[in-house]
Amino acid sequence: MTNERERRQSNDIILAVEDVTLSFGGVRAITGVSFDIRKGEIRAIIGPNGAGKTSMLNVINGFYFPEEGRITFRGQTRQRMRPHVAASQGIARTFQNVALFKGMTTLDNIMVGRTLKMHKGLFWQIWRHGPALAEEVEHRKVAEEIIDFLEIQHIRKTPVGRLPYGLQKRVELGRALAMEPDLLLLDEPMAGMNLEEKEDMSRFIVDVNNQYGTTIALIEHDIGVVMDLSDRIVVLEYGRKIADGKPEVVKSDQRVIDAYLGVAH
């Protein structure tokens, strides 16, 4: 199975981060970090608390602007980027703290993910007729495929605020998938989950990658999960990259071990 996956991954680089530096006031969050993400892979970004992982994701999807360095996404190099532009170019993400519309149903939340793909004007949408209706049916179809894929049929019409945390995380993944992204950024998809929920979520992540060929970059604290899931891992510490490579290489890297276990100074 692994062989198959390796074969499908090309060496095409979908996203390259070069010498990115980001600071908030006087605090350096990221210092001169470079790495790349290949098309079709699952790429993990790990590191101790405050290492700059979430900042890195925010830089990638255009929420923060790096002071230095460049980001190349699908061959286009940019320095400044807005989140909605990133979204329309095919970058979707989920958040460390679930950021769903709590009063809306699972289905509606997923349909929100289709917003950028809706093209019919307000006039048609108000009347919900003709082309707008046809378009909605198309989008609903995609939403239903996602619901089927994530096995959340039973909560289709349930307001997400009433759902347990693990399911909310799954709905959030569904909403990101609704954008049919080329690159999916997952910020701690398994935080606060029990073992069974983690296993489910891992399976969904692998299945998304497998079925849709979506490239995935994820931040995760559970090292066991990261080692199992990812093809390559970047390790950050205090805003700097300290290791980069396949799980087995990273696992035996002395600096990584030190960063995680701590060393006597």
Binding site: R5, I147, Q211
Partner: protein
């Protein structure tokens, strides 16, 4: 609904001649009911429908492809998964080729599944999804015979080695194009024509309570004969609807949905997933429905809890009209006379309460509903009946191809399982065990002569393992207990512990009961009170208590329980052969039986032997004539710490009643 039924084509009459295999029934339905819906499945949020014609085409396509994979007459083929149209089609396809389908419980762990598949000599397995594929591949060393695995849902299987794996949809598509060829059609038609009703058509593995599960072999003609009888009994037609949510491997699904569906031509709907059954039920509104008692129980609990949260006005209205329903509902259902005022009130209640409630539960259109499998509380049973739901009981077994007894409309009781089903014969052994002969009865256990002989009596009757008797008043069968659990008192009277305990447990104040008496002079029992019910009563009557133990020992609680025990004794005295088992002495246990202490299983069943050993001093006291007994018990707290509780338990005498078949020599009357 009744009008619609009358309009529906009653195809059952045509069954008698010629249609002795399922493929022939399918062909008949495709011809006579062609464009009527045969199956539905909710997929991507929409109910997809297939007509009888389409089901026939799909099944034929699958059959020709399975033929291509080498499936031959007499081979076995496993079907593993939730209720899905494609899996049912596979069953039909296999039967077209004369192969035997073996549905397997999808939630079985890999080891259990491997046992069944190996025992059934499965060469081809048709499964729902990746989960099942993984189980089979994981056990492939034990399953060398499996040549091919077909799957319904492709998710996650993209990167698997596909030399032995095939997606079902591609399979069907290929089959359809292959059947465009006249020669292929002729080949398949010849296979169907060669099929004989006397051939085994399905093998259902029963979960043996002791030892490994057994493969019950059932022939097509017997299955069809049995289903024809019950279809006629309940007047099922192609206008009926069912929701197929029971495991495909269970006889209930194969009988009620598959066999009855093919015989009557009704439409079978498959739920979207196991979690959506409740809302799917509401959307489909089945006219024929089966559920075990615990489903009805949990539904009622949910309704009651939600009513507690309703506003005072709504709550008052609900309780008032439920009271009306209790008074008149069952009588109306049974066609008994009801005063005009009662009819009027019931009609209003139906408009305001029963109708909406049934709609929410998905029970609006139920014409025939069944429950079976365990004893159902009379309160619970009549609650649903009083709403106008025609709920009935049946008693059956896999070996009988289900029905042994079944209640008929208008003659329904909570405490019996009904009169004999059509064409069924029953006799009783000396020990009270029920033996039967039925139209659908099995031909034997697969590769298990020995156990086949164990259940088959010399005269061709089959032993059920259950003890029971025919109730002289109603003429219905009553099941009292597993035959091996029925003991005897020293005087020779029968002692059925579970039967007595169930009678006691139907009182809301009694949570658990453990009866003793096998090999003793008389019957006695331990009682656990239900803390919420009795606690509620105590609150209303101004009785204060500090703990379970204190409440359990309260003299007025003893009075209440003594009343319940007397009530049970009275009903035992009225039943043949049961009068001797009346409870003479009882006690209320000082602690609740608990799974943490090993007294209950994790599924909350009493571990009789363990309890008897643990409380031996109390049992001795029950038989020694003592009026109270000190006892010290070790308990395990939830955090794992151990402690002891001591108590002085009072032992009470129970009121007993004279009974009909009381031995003359026994002079002590109640």
């Amino acid at each position: 609904m009744r009008e619609e039924t009358a309009k529906g084509k009653c195809v059952t009459a045509a069954v008698a001649a010629g249609f002795d295999t399922f493929p022939r029934l399918l062909a008949r339905n495709a011809a006579t009911l062609g464009d009527r819906p045969a199956m539905r499945h909710k997929d991507y949020g929409i109910w997809q429908t297939w007509t009888w014609k389409e089901v026939n085409e799909n099944a034929r396509a699958l059959a020709i492809e399975l033929h291509g994979l080498g499936l031959k007459r007499g081979d076995t083929i496993a079907i593993i998964g939730a209720n899905r149209p494609r899996l049912y089609w596979t069953m039909m396809a296999a039967q077209m080729l004369g192969a035997v389908s073996v549905p397997v419980y999808a939630d079985a762990v890999a080891d259990e599944m491997a046992y069944v598949l190996a025992h059934a000599e499965i060469g081809i397995a048709v499964v729902q999804d990746q989960e099942q594929v993984d189980k089979l591949l994981g056990e492939s060393e034990r399953l060398p015979l499996i040549r091919h695995i077909l799957y319904d849902e492709p998710r996650g299987l993209k990167d698997y080695d596909h030399s032995r794996l095939h997606p079902l949809d591609a399979f069907i598509a290929r089959g359809i194009s292959r059947l465009a060829d006249r020669a292929q059609r002729a080949l398949l038609d010849a296979e169907i024509a060669a099929g004989k009703g006397s051939e085994t058509s399905v093998m259902l593995y029963t979960s043996g309570t002791t030892g490994r599960s057994k493969g019950v072999m059932l022939t097509a003609e017997r299955c069809i004969a049995a289903a024809t009888d019950s279809v006629a009994l309940d007047k099922l037609t192609d206008r009926d609807e069912v929701l197929a949510y029971l495991p495909m491997a269970w006889v209930g699904d194969h009988y009620m949905n598959y066999a009855q569906g093919l015989v009557s031509g009704f439409c079978m709907s498959c739920p979207e997933s196991a979690e959506t059954v409740q809302s799917d039920l509401r959307e489909i509104g089945p006219s024929f429905y089966f559920a075990p008692p615990r489903v009805f129980e949990s539904l009622l609990t949910r309704v009651m809890i939600r009513m507690e949260d309703a506003s005072a006005l709504k709550r008052a209205m609900f309780h008032y009209f439920i009271g009306i329903a209790r008074k008149y509902g069952e009588k109306l259902l049974n066609g008994e006379p009801v005063p005009l005022g009662g009819r009027l009130l019931y009609a209003i209640g139906n408009l305001l309460v029963y109708g909406p409630l049934k709609n929410v539960l998905g029970f609006s259109r139920i014409r025939v509903g069944y429950t079976a499998g365990e004893a159902i509380g009379p309160e619970l049973f009549s609650f649903y009946r009083s709403l106008g739901i025609n709920l009935k009981q049946l008693y059956g077994q896999t070996e009988a191809f289900l029905y042994i007894t079944v209640q008929v409309d208008g003659d329904v009781r909570a405490d019996t399982v009904g009169p004999l089903a059509p064409h069924v014969e029953v006799r009783f052994s000396e020990t009270g065990e029920v033996l039967f002969k039925s139209p659908g009865m099995f031909t034997g256990y697969f590769k298990d002569e020995e156990r086949t002989h164990e259940v088959l009596a010399a005269d061709g009757f089959i032993k059920t393992g259950d003890a029971g008797f025919i109730d002289p008043v109603s003429g219905h069968l009553k099941i009292i207990d597993r035959a091996k659990d029925v003991g005897r008192l020293t005087g020779g009277a029968l002692f059925p512990p579970k039967y007595i305990e169930n009678k006691l447990k139907f009182f809301p104040n009694i949570k658990e009961a453990v009866a003793f008496g096998d090999g003793r002079d008389y019957a006695t029992c331990f009682i656990n009170i239900d803390l919420s019910a009795v606690g509620n009563w105590a609150e209303r009557n101004g009785i204060s208590y500090g703990s379970y133990q204190e409440l359990a020992g309260h003299p007025r609680v003893y009075e209440i329980i003594a009343g319940h025990v007397a009530e049970v004794n009275r009903s035992l005295a009225q039943e043949p052969r049961m009068g001797g088992a009346q409870i003479r002495r009882f006690l209320i246990l000082h602690k609740e039986l608990d799974a943490d202490d090993g007294e209950l299983t994790r599924t909350q069943k009493v571990r009789r032997g363990f309890v008897a050993g643990r409380y031996a001093v109390l049992i001795d006291a029950l038989y020694s004539g003592a009026t109270e007994q000190d006892v010290t018990t070790e308990v395990t707290f939830e955090d794992g710490r151990k402690g002891t509780i001591s108590a002085r338990v009072r032992i009470a005498e129970a009121k007993t009643f004279p009974w009909r078949d009381e031995p003359a020599r026994q002079d002590e009357a109640a």
